[in-house]
Amino acid sequence: MTFRKYLVLAGVAVFGSVGDSLLSRGMKEVGNISIHNLQAVFLAVRDPWIISGILLLFAFFAAYMTALSWADLTYVLPATSVGYVLLALIAKFILHEQVTPGRWLGILLITAGVGFVAGGPALTHAGHHDQLADHAEVASVGGKS
């Protein structure tokens, strides 16, 4: 794992959590969507908070895809869950929200989970086999052309 790769994992955590918060803010502004008026969900996409959220989620997506290209799914997901901790800390120290003992325990569990997975290898055998299979596929296509 290089510094660049840790930076990509940090990008997944930050862009994902901030993007979700913006979407939540936007949907609260749009209001409840009735089951009889489902197309209203498409109108919600015009809301500036939703647009900002979607833009950040695009950045999240690019970082997420990059991480998945060199690490297992079961490594990337827990490793990037540090975003939840980040959100709780922002809520406490910037938004001055009350963080209950239960939430601090939640933060502790997530941090422990991140520590557990970060100590292990990022990629196990399956990914390597996929790459080998793909290289063989590319070679055979190249041979045909």
Partner: protein, 126 residues
């Protein structure tokens, strides 16, 4: 009734998210290390290889379903229920799916990590 809609949306989000994650993981493993490919072949080759991959397209479809279900879920239920419930269930679902469908080596360490994160996220909603 609204409660049932919220949990229905949560179920759809979890299934669609896990499906999307597994498909994306498979697509990106076959594309290879994006950073390395970018340096050797350039940005357009990377984008072309990713966008033309069939598993990527299917993954996008599954994630689009998850995204719109999330919008419905957020409009019916509180974000403090919908976001942590979907995230924690998706963590455990992904660990099981990655083991069965992706043949990832989900050892004790990764199971513990997935469960710790899932419990932690659930507690954040308390």
């Amino acid at each position: 009734m609204k409660h049932a809609y919220t949990w229905g949306a949560i179920a759809v989000i979890v299934v669609a998210s896990v499906t999307g994650d597994v498909l994306m993981s498979r697509a990106m493993k076959q594309v290879g290390d994006v950073g390395e490919l970018w340096r050797k072949r350039g940005m357009l080759v990377v984008i072309g290889r990713v966008l033309r991959h069939p598993y990527f397209v299917l993954g996008i479809l599954a994630m689009a379903i998850a995204f719109f279900s999330l919008l419905f879920g957020l409009s019916w239920g509180d974000v403090s229920l919908v976001a942590p419930a979907t995230a924690s269930l998706t963590f455990v679902g992904n660990a099981a799916a990655a083991k069965v469908l992706r043949h990832e080596h989900v050892d004790q360490r990764r199971w513990i990590a997935a469960c710790l994160v899932a419990c932690g996220v659930a507690l954040l909603a308390a």
